[in-house]
C-alpha cells in the first residue's frame, strides 16, 4: 500500500544528513555550554544541590587521583633515569621528573582519569534521568534542568579538578623523589636543587590553568551527552563511552592549544 509519507533512500539526502548532523551537534553543544555558563554566573544552585556533587566529584575521586599521581612520578623517574645516566646527568633527574609532572602529565593524566571516573558517571546518571523522563519531570515542576543538573556538576569539575591536579602533582613529586632517592640512589639535595633551578612557578600555574579548561570540558561534554542519551541501556552506555572519548580528545586539543600559547608567553618573557 503506498502512502503519502513513504520514505525513499536518496543519496543527496544521505550525504546532506552526514554533513549536517555533526555541525548540528557542535552548534547544540556550543549553545548548551553558553547556557551552562550563563546559569553559573547568574543562578548558583542551593547548597543542598551543590554539596553532594562536590563530594561525588572531589572527595570520591581522591584515591584514583592520588594513585595516578604517585605512579606517574615513579614511572617518570624510572624512564628518565636511564637516559640521563648515559649522559652522566642523573643528578638532574628532579628537574626532568617535576617539570614534566607539573606542566604536562600531572594535569593531563589527572584529567584523563577524571574523564573516566567523573565524566562517565555524570553521563550515565544524566542519561538515565533523560530516558526515565526525570529531566522532563524537572521542567514540568518549574526547575531549569541546566541550572539544577548541569551547573552543580560544571562548578564541581571546574573548581575541584585544579585542586585534584595539585594533589596529583604533589603525590607524583613525593613518590618520584622517594623512589629516586631510595631506589635510584640520587642525592636528595641535588634532586631538589635542580628542580628549583628549572621548574618555575609559571610552569606550575600553567598546569593548573590548563586543568580549569579540562574540568570545564569534562563537565560540559558529560552533561551534554547525558542530556542527549538515547533510550535503553545501550543509549546510556553509549553516552558514557562517548563522554570519555570526546572529553579525552578535547583534553588533548586544549593541551595542544595551551602548549602553543604558553610557548609564545615563554618567548615573550625570555626572548633568547
Amino acid at each position: 500500500m503506498s502512502t503519502a509519507y513513504e520514505h525513499r533512500w536518496n543519496p543527496f539526502e544521505w550525504l546532506g544528513e552526514k554533513i549536517v548532523a555533526p555541525i548540528a551537534v557542535i552548534g547544540d553543544f556550543t549553545l548548551f555550554s553558553l547556557m551552562a555558563i550563563r546559569w553559573t554566573l547568574f543562578g548558583i544552585p542551593r547548597g543542598s544541590v551543590l554539596w553532594p556533587n562536590l563530594y561525588q566529584i572531589g572527595v570520591l575521586s581522591l584515591p584514583v587521583v592520588l594513585v595516578t599521581g604517585g605512579f606517574i612520578g615513579m614511572v617518570l623517574a624510572v624512564q628518565s633515569f636511564d637516559q640521563l645516566r648515559v649522559m652522566h646527568l642523573e643528578s638532574r633527574l628532579g628537574s626532568v621528573v617535576n617539570m614534566t609532572l607539573v606542566k604536562e602529565l600531572g594535569p593531563v593524566l589527572a584529567a584523563t582519569m577524571l574523564a573516566g571516573r567523573v565524566g562517565s558517571a555524570i553521563a550515565a546518571e544524566l542519561g538515565t534521568m533523560r530516558v526515565t523522563e526525570q529531566i522532563d519531570a524537572l521542567e514540568a515542576l518549574g526547575a531549569d534542568p541546566i541550572q539544577y543538573l548541569v551547573v552543580p556538576r560544571f562548578l564541581g569539575c571546574v573548581l575541584l579538578i585544579p585542586l585534584l591536579t595539585i594533589l596529583a602533582d604533589t603525590t607524583g613529586m613525593l613518590c618520584g623523589w622517594i623512589f629516586s632517592v631510595t631506589v635510584l640512589d640520587i642525592n636528595s639535595y641535588y634532586y631538589w636543587f635542580h628542580t628549583f633551578e628549572y621548574v618555575t612557578l609559571l610552569d606550575l600555574y600553567s598546569g593548573i590553568v590548563k586543568s580549569l579548561g579540562f574540568g570545564a570540558a569534562i563537565a560540559l561534554v558529560a552533561c551534554h551527552r547525558g542530556f542527549h542519551a538515547r533510550a535503553g541501556a545501550e543509549g546510556v552506555g553509549n553516552a558514557a563511552t562517548q563522554t570519555f572519548v570526546f572529553s579525552f580528545v578535547l583534553i588533548l586539543f586544549l593541551d595542544f592549544l595551551a602548549g602553543v600559547i604558553l610557548s609564545q608567553v615563554y618567548l615573550w618573557m625570555d626572548p633568547v
Binding site: T3, Y5, T132, E139
Partner: protein, 266 residues
C-alpha cells in the same frame, strides 16, 4: 463544557525527530473541565502530543496555545509559570531517584513558592494521603516502591502544585488489573474533588470506558492514506466502540485481524 474557550489548543502542528515525521497537521482543542482521552497504538505520537500540549517540546511547525496565548510568544519566565498550571504524571512516574518520596512530592513547592517548611509538610502529607498511600512511605526512596506506588507518588507530586490541568501519560501501563483500577478511581476522585481538566493517554480500554468524556484516536503517520487527517476518530467512548472505521473498531475491541491483513499486504 464545549461552549467555553479551549484551555489548550494545537493548530496545524507538525513534529519531526531527526528525519522521522511523527505528527503532521494536528488540530486539537482541550476544553476546561473535560476528561479527554487520547488513544492509538504504540509509536503513533500520543506522548509527543501531550508533551507538545504541556510545552515540554516545541512543534516543528504550527502553534500551541494556552488559553488563547501562543506558547512560542511567551517569555521563558512566563512559560515556566504557566507550565506550573499543568500537572504531568509520566509514563514511568519519573520520580527523582536521589530524593525520597517526601522530597519528590515537595519538589515543586520548594522550587516555586516561598512557603514555610511546615506549610509544605502539611500539603505533602495531604497529597500522599489523597492518593491512598500510608504516610510511612514518605521516607522511602523510589527504588523501594512497587510500580503502582510509584505511579501514585507521581500523581501526588503532580497534584502538589494544585494544577488546573493534569496530563496522565499511560497511567495504567505495567500495572496489574486491580492496581490499574485503583489508578482509574484516583483519576475520577481527582476530577470530583477539584475542577480540573484531564488529558489521559492510554491504550487501556477499561480506563477509556471509565474516565473519558471525549476520545481522540491518533494513527501512525506512515500508514495513513494520502491527505488523510492523523486524528482518525473524535467522539465519545460509546461512539468509539460502535465506530464504522475498521481501524478504530479493531483498536478499541483489541481485534488484530485488520492489522494482520495490513502486515501481510506489506
Amino acid at each position: 463544557m464545549y461552549d467555553a474557550e479551549p484551555i489548550l489548543e494545537l493548530r496545524q502542528v507538525d513534529r519531526t525527530f531527526g528525519t522521522q515525521d511523527v505528527l503532521r497537521g494536528i488540530n486539537l482543542d482541550v476544553y476546561p473541565g473535560e476528561t479527554l482521552v487520547v488513544i492509538g497504538e504504540s509509536g503513533c505520537g500520543k506522548s509527543v502530543t501531550t508533551k507538545l500540549l504541556a510545552g515540554m517540546i516545541a512543534p516543528s511547525a504550527g502553534d500551541v496555545y494556552w488559553q488563547g496565548r501562543d506558547v512560542q510568544q511567551l517569555s521563558a519566565n512566563e512559560k515556566r509559570r504557566q507550565r506550573l498550571r499543568i500537572g504531568y504524571l509520566f509514563q514511568s512516574a519519573a520520580l527523582f531517584d536521589s530524593l525520597n518520596v517526601y522530597e519528590n512530592v515537595a519538589f515543586g513547592l520548594k522550587q516555586n513558592t516561598r512557603m514555610k517548611a511546615a506549610e509544605i509538610e502539611e500539603i505533602v502529607l495531604e497529597r500522599i494521603k489523597d492518593v491512598g498511600l500510608p504516610l510511612n512511605v514518605a521516607e522511602k526512596k523510589p527504588a523501594e516502591l512497587s510500580g503502582g506506588m510509584r505511579k501514585r507518588v507521581g500523581l501526588a507530586r503532580a497534584l502538589a502544585m494544585d494544577p488546573e490541568i493534569i496530563i496522565y501519560d499511560e497511567p495504567t501501563t505495567g500495572l496489574d488489573p486491580v492496581m490499574s483500577d485503583v489508578i482509574n478511581e484516583l483519576i475520577l476522585s481527582v476530577q470530583r474533588r477539584r475542577p480540573v481538566t484531564s488529558i489521559v493517554v492510554t491504550h487501556d480500554m477499561h480506563t477509556v470506558r471509565k474516565v473519558a468524556d471525549r476520545i481522540v484516536m491518533l494513527y501512525p503517520l506512515p500508514r495513513l492514506q494520502p491527505g488523510e487527517d492523523q486524528i482518525i476518530f473524535e467522539g465519545t467512548a460509546d461512539e468509539a466502540f460502535e465506530a464504522d472505521d475498521p481501524r478504530v473498531y479493531s483498536f478499541v475491541h483489541g481485534d488484530a485481524s485488520q492489522r494482520l491483513q495490513e502486515l501481510h499486504a506489506a
